[in-house]
């Protein structure tokens, strides 16, 4: 059995990264006070955030077109959880606790093991 690893899998690290930054924008917007209900949704952060999400989605389709398997893509995208934890610590001063760091290490280790198959 040869390895299933393909460099195109890395596209899903990019989609996870783009989606993680989008989450930061959405969270920033959710934390701000807005003049009206409609402004909560129609402001540049939300629009750019969802735009980034949509771009990530299309990039994912491109990755699949290059032969990436569904089972592998979802595991690669778990890296987004690592990124959200780190970005939240940077942008929102959310604590990177020992538990979180251990979880992050496990996720990265699991992704590597998965791709050794």
């Amino acid at each position: 059995m040869h390895s299933e690893f393909t460099p195109w899998l890395l596209i899903f690290l990019v989609t996870a990264t783009v989606a993680s930054f989008a989450q930061m924008l959405l969270k920033k917007s959710a934390m701000e006070k807005h003049d009206s209900w409609i402004r909560e949704y129609l402001n540049w952060k939300v629009i750019v955030g969802y735009g980034l999400m949509f771009s990530a989605m299309l990039l994912g389709v491109y990755g699949y077109a290059r032969g990436v398997q569904v089972k592998s893509a979802s595991v690669m995208e778990s890296f987004g959880i690592v990124e959200v934890a780190v970005l939240s610590a940077i942008f929102f001063k959310e604590k990177l606790t020992r538990k979180k760091i251990l979880g992050i290490a496990l996720i990265i280790f699991g992704i590597i093991i998965f791709n050794l198959a």
Binding site: M1, E4, A30, E40, F54, M57, L58, G60, V61, Y62, G63, Y64, A65, Q69, V70, K71, S72, A73, S74, V75, S78, I81, V82, A85, E94, T97, K99, K100, L102, G103, I104, A105, L106, I107, I108, F109, G110, I111, I112, I113, F114, N115, L116, A117
Partner: protein, 136 residues
């Protein structure tokens, strides 16, 4: 967005039906990857308002539309879930998305189940649960 509602409602105790409900939402979410994969095999072009858009054919665009629909529906369901359940319960359940996607890959696209895949997913799942358990 849903924070206010979270504080107003008493949280429901977790029942089997509750877990099934949350997992149903997670299934809707992971169905988006099926749509993505389906769209990816529909290469071609379509014409909209006299302009040709290269990349996907009409079927491909419809799959993408369905994917957006899945994600939209999931967003609505998720808001309802975090209103009714503790965030820790909600996130714990959502971690299983990685297992559902694996199942879809195997069931719908004939992808192989390899032992190291299963070990890797188990470790990733443990990691996600650990990160989420401290994320409140």
């Amino acid at each position: 967005m849903g924070e206010q509602a979270v504080n107003e409602n008493p949280k429901r105790k977790l029942t089997l039906l509750g877990i099934l409900g949350i997992q149903a939402a997670v299934v809707v979410y992971t169905a988006s990857s099926i749509c993505s994969k389906m769209a990816s095999s529909e290469r071609g072009s379509i014409e909209i308002f006299g302009r040709t858009i290269e990349g996907l054919n009409l079927k491909g665009f419809l799959w993408i539309l369905l994917e957006v629909g899945c994600l939209g529906l999931y967003a609505v369901l998720w808001q309802q879930i975090i209103k009714r359940f503790d965030l820790s319960i909600a996130y714990c359940n959502r971690a299983f998305a990685v297992c559902w996607s694996f199942l879809w890959g195997v069931l719908f696209f004939g992808e192989q189940v390899r032992p190291l895949n299963l070990v890797g997913i188990g470790i990733v799942l443990a990691g996600i649960l650990l990160v989420n358990s401290d994320a409140q």
